[in-house]
Symmetry: C2
């Protein structure tokens, strides 16, 4: 598999996080000669916050995480397997997960509700509890422990690069580490494009505050990206705070001493989300859509997503075609309030439309030069009020069709 | 341009419709050596019903039609040009249309409000009123008058075949003719995929009744198709009833004597809508999605559209891959009520899932054979209530990318 042309060229170093122990295993269930199972153990008292897919046909793993988050907030174990999503496997799938949970709870002397899990890969094939537990019990692993880059590799399905990043911030004078890993946007038959991200910190923050910080961070990052408008059955973001810093617990998400921490979480979520777009199937261009002047922020988001999901906009960008008429179309179909005669469209910093028509003396040449670059920037001003949003996507290319239609032919 | 492999092999004969006079012109504004302007004149008293795009950035032509339909219901003239949508051309675009309307109103001794118009093609380029009116005034035309097939050809942009059909029905013992023409789903740089349909009848039916019949017919036909989820700025369906039959006007859309007429309108709308899907960009397969057992009909429609718009479902079908997991995903993302353990998926008549998992002893071979045919039928039973809907789409192929991305490279 070729690495995406949009892959970043530099990555963070990944330090250890106090209270997090990582082990990677090779189950050989789907993939061969690579780790495909991540087991993260957390220190006692680790708080967890989570955000999950809105899908009505979500996977068993998502159901379990939601249930555990509702009943208890301590996380002691995270188990992530790659290659089989165990989604839509019915009662047998449930039994398989229950069997894994019971075994791990006994092995590590934990409550079931302290175990979190995520599975991505094939839909509709039963996850073998035996294969998975045999790998864990054999306790053989090639990647050294506590290797966050190895962990990011172990959770990949058809990602073309491992996704990870790190921040060091201060909370009330104490240095805190935050590590994030993610996977998403690759695809093999018959897999789902699925997004996972896990964030680990040694900060000492209560679960309700952590949950608030995560929900706020996910909105302009993971919830502001789209590759192909198809929502997975398994999307999961979990934030674990081990509290291993020798500092009092903070219970208020808006406490002034958390300011840098919140900024770092926001940055990491955005970085992971953009990595996923940069690994979008067949992607050749990274597209930023900025909407301003909408009636409110939600309307701006919906207009941005209407543009970012439009096959006609995305194919035009793939063809390096400054086809702004398709952006007008996508604004119009969003269902959000719009006044044709107030819309301003700017591409690559060059204003194209104003007062409901193309600007006087519009010269397409510099816009076309921008379209030939790898980072496309579209600014839309609705001219109605001050609602704004930014969303990210990639172009729609022959590569997407090849990945998703051609593999069986 | 190659004719779509899904084009029908047989078409209706197209008789005259009393009270409708058709003329086709060659304006040479965009296309050469073909008619690209349709002028339909209607007998005095012709009633008109219309349904238009919901786009908030709709074209000037759509704005005019909506305005005329709101103020007066008599139609005496329909003008349709192909190749330039005159959308997003601001005040200059408005002036151009006004100038055309004023000239035609004077020439034919009509009120402006009795003229209906539709334009499809390039967005953002000003329509030349002079070029258009010169063609009309020169009064030279190659295609014989009252040729509905010639009219269907004149309104094409990048359609690969002309779309038309006809029905003869009885209303209270009188034979009535209904002719329908349509265009849609082709595309050239930088055109919009745009759908138009015009239906002509000599029946004598009042405008409110006609409007009710049309709105009801559009719902399961034009509003139940999707090629690429992108809504045009110019979509228009107009139904003209000249009332030239020597019979009393019918004012009640549910009058028993209208039963066959209503059925014929429904059939023609569905036929035109399916023609458009059959001419979908790059389409190789015609897909019917039947949803049953949803909480209500609207929910069933939304679930059907979620499946029919899913790039992953459409690429799987292009790849002749019986990838039912992607259908589960599309149901889940629709936002409509779903119980994973009640969903039944049937493809080509073969049941695949039941009780939240794949059926015992599922054999993919016959489903794969169905996937290799040209007409794919997907049945989904939600098992919740009796809401049902059927939607139509085509597959997503390299042809779509080539048409929409490659033409400038």
């Amino acid at each position: 598999m070729n690495i995406s042309p949009l892959a970043p060229t530099e990555f963070s170093r990944m330090p250890d996080v106090k209270g997090v122990a990582l082990k990677m295993f090779e189950t050989r269930m789907v993939y061969k000669n690579r780790d495909d199972l991540l087991l993260a153990q957390f220190a006692k008292g680790t708080q967890v916050a989570g955000v999950f897919t809105q899908s009505k046909t979500c996977s068993a793993a998502v159901d379990w995480c939601k249930k555990h988050l509702a009943t208890g907030h301590q996380a002691r174990l995270l188990l992530v397997n790659a290659g089989n999503s165990n989604a839509f496997t019915g009662a047998a799938g449930e039994r398989s997960v229950t069997s894994v949970f019971n075994h791990l709870a006994q092995k590590f002397k934990l409550k079931n509700s302290e175990i979190y899990t995520a599975s991505t890969g094939v839909i509709g094939e039963l996850l073998s509890a035996d294969d998975l537990l045999n790998a864990v019990d054999a306790n053989k692993f090639s990647t050294p422990e506590n290797n966050f880059i190895g962990a990011a590799n172990a959770i990949r399905t058809t990602d073309t690069f491992a996704k990870f990043s790190s921040r060091q911030v201060e909370i009330a004078g104490n240095s805190v580490t935050i590590n994030a890993i993610a996977k998403g946007s690759g695809m093999i038959a018959p897999d789902m494009s699925t997004m996972l991200s896990f964030i680990f910190t040694d900060a000492n923050i209560s679960q309700p505050a952590l949950q608030k910080i995560l929900v706020a961070a996910v909105k302009p990052s993971f919830n502001a990206i789209t590759v192909d408008s198809d929502t997975s059955t398994s999307d999961t973001v979990l934030l674990f705070a081990t509290g291993q810093l020798d500092a009092p617990q903070i219970n208020d998400s808006s406490a002034p001493e958390l300011q840098d921490f919140v900024t770092a979480i926001n940055e990491l979520c955005l970085e992971m989300a953009q990595y996923i777009v940069r690994d979008g199937e067949g992607a050749q261009k990274f597209i930023t859509v900025n909407i301003g002047g909408a009636v409110d922020d939600q309307a701006a988001h919906n207009i941005g997503m209407s543009i970012a999901n439009s096959p006609l906009v995305k194919t035009a960008i793939a063809g390096e075609d400054a086809n702004w008429g398709r952006i007008i179309m996508a604004i119009g179909k969003s269902g959000e309030q719009a006044d044709r005669d107030l819309i301003e469209i700017t591409i690559g910093g060059i204003k194209i439309t104003q007062n409901g028509q193309v600007v006087k003396g519009y010269d397409e040449a510099p816009v076309t030069r921008h379209m030939q670059t790898q980072n496309i920037i579209i600014d839309v001003s609705m001219g109605l009020s001050d609602g704004q949003a930014t969303v990210y996507t990639c172009d729609l290319t022959h590569g997407y069709i090849t990945i998703n239609a051609d593999y069986r032919s």
